[in-house]
Amino acid sequence: MNTSKPPTMDLQNLNPSSLKSRFATRFLRALTKINAQKPISPSSPTEIFQRYRRIKVAADKSMAYSVRSRRTWSRATLWRLRTRSPRSRLATLARRSSVKTRTTTVVDKTSHGKENKEERGAGLGVEEEELRELVPGGEAMDLCNLLDETAHYIKCLTTQVQVMRTIANLYSLD
């Protein structure tokens, strides 16, 4: 593959430790595993749906593992995936509370509890709460760290989408 280099792409410039390559490697490995587990041609939409769930979980997990524990959101994602259980509601509550205690990154008296939400600073209001819900692990951070996490999360999501889109295109072009 390296023998024929296209004029626009130089595969030797690939940084093997970049986020993209780490994620790509992991995700492809997971995909292989998923393909190996199930029959290749499922016969029902349910199967496809299950496969989709697995692939999505694999994608999130791969991304979180590529980031390791350096970021709150990756820790929260891994925690969520690890303690995922069929009983969604109770488990979500349990996860959220444990995520709160585990992923507190700021030694801050206002990091816990709903009663402190107003103190979390100068009310950016509804959007702030929405953002907290979007970013994994966002409930337990103050706004300042939340914005940091959001920035990194956006960057990683972008990478993830790029890689997955490439894979999907490669699949579809056969």
Binding site: S4, F23, I40, S41, L124, Q162, L170, L173
Partner: protein
């Protein structure tokens, strides 16, 4: 030289009607000096006009020059400011400056001795300013605190922690702010002495300066520092999220960010769905060359231009599963009021022709203002071009599949 300084001070200090040009000149002179503090007699004062110092502080990074401001402020309460023309610097202009010791002894002792230890080039403490000298801007103070670290008041620890991370951009802004601030008329209000920020003259306190007309208690200062942090981070986020250049205000920005994150998450889900659907018809892919290839794929396939997905075909079974996924993950886009970004999901009709036929299928469009990046159709063509370049890989893949 001293006379020049004196004249500057006399004509400018009390009323602060120094012109911008003079201030710039003074700042330039100051910048030329290599300011060394630690070897000097701590009792000596570095006397310069306050605007000079403030301007210079704004333009210099964290050196001991900051310290001199604190010393100055000791005398600001007095009217003898113009007599202080001490520059313990090694610059040529001030080489012959007389060293006048005009400090009130107790204040001098307190300030200078307390600042001796921190009068290093790596000193980080900001100067203590009395409130009547209000042209100092807090941000400028923060920005000039460079790489060194002094001792902190724990209350102000976070303020100082921010200083290290502030970039020169803020320093540049601080400079312009200094100009605007100094152009306003400022009079020494002794009434503000009561509310000055520095109440202790211990070396382990962070002394910050408050703006004119602003509250000076510690809470508001800390609050202001926090707000500056937040706005800096919002600026970083603005760079990440496309189409945010026109949006001002925190709420709008947050809405944009939320929309963008939601769209990214949905794209991940959709792509995983697509892979799941396509996986059903394709064998395993070789894993050795793939990661390198996939990861090195041209990054031109950016998100905002995802106007059309590459073609793939869903049979009726897959169509149902796609609908399942879409129903599960889709929730109505929020905040329609954002003009520049609206997420619209358009489900085209999924024809049920044979699986081998490829038809255009667009399920996602992120309507954004046209950016300077690859248009939507470019993605597909780029991918296809990129793929064509990898012919050996594809022949290899085809061999695997057949």
């Amino acid at each position: 030289m001293l006379h020049r300084l004196e004249s500057l001070e006399s004509c400018t200090y009390d009323r602060m009607d120094m012109t911008v040009l003079e201030r710039q000149a003074a700042r330039f002179k100051w910048q030329q000096q290599n300011y060394v503090v630690q070897n000097n007699n701590p009792v000596e004062l570095c006397a310069s006009s306050v605007p000079q110092f403030q301007g210079l502080v704004g333009s210099n990074l964290g050196s001991g020059q900051m310290v001199e401001l604190k010393r100055l402020e000791v005398f600001l309460g007095t009217d003898n400011f113009q007599e202080f023309m001490n520059f313990p610097v090694t610059g040529p202009e001030f080489g012959d400056s007389e060293k006048l010791d005009l400090l009130p002894p107790e204040a001098a002792a307190d300030y200078c001795i307390s600042r001796t230890s921190s009068c290093q080039m790596t000193a980080l403490d900001t100067a203590v300013m009395k409130e009547e000298r209000e042209d100092m801007i807090l941000e400028k103070m923060e920005s000039t605190i460079g790489s060194g670290r002094g001792s902190f008041n724990k209350r102000k620890a976070e303020t100082v922690a921010d200083h290290k991370s502030k970039d020169k951009k803020i320093k540049g802004e601080g400079e312009s702010e200094v100009k605007t601030k100094c152009s306003t008329e400022i009079s020494r209000n002794s009434s503000k002495e009561n509310s000055k920020a520095s109440e202790v003259q211990k070396p382990d306190y962070i002394h910050v300066r408050a703006r004119r007309g602003q509250a000076t208690d510690s809470h508001s200062l800390a609050e202001r520092a926090r707000r500056e942090k937040l706005s800096k981070k919002m600026k970083c986020l603005q760079d990440l999220v496309p189409g945010c250049n026109k949006i001002t205000g925190k709420a709008g920005m947050l809405d944009e960010i939320i929309n963008y994150v939601q769209s990214l998450q949905r794209q991940v889900e959709f792509l995983s769905m697509k892979i799941a659907a396509l996986n059903s018809s394709v064998e395993n892919l070789p894993m050795k060359e793939f990661p390198a290839y996939v990861a090195n794929f041209p990054a031109a396939a950016k998100l905002p231009e995802m106007a059309g997905l590459p073609c793939f075909q869903l049979n009726p079974l897959q169509k149902e599963s796609v609908n399942c996924m879409l129903n599960e993950t889709m929730h109505p886009p929020q905040t329609e009021g954002i003009a520049s970004a609206s997420v619209s999901i358009s489900e085209q009709s999924l024809s049920s022709s044979s699986m081998t036929q490829l038809q255009p299928f667009s399920t996602w469009s992120w309507n954004m203002d046209p950016q300077d990046t690859v248009p939507g159709n470019g993605i597909i063509s780029t991918l296809q071009e990129g793929i064509q370049y990898q012919m050996p890989l594809f022949t290899f893949l085809q061999d695997i599949f057949q």
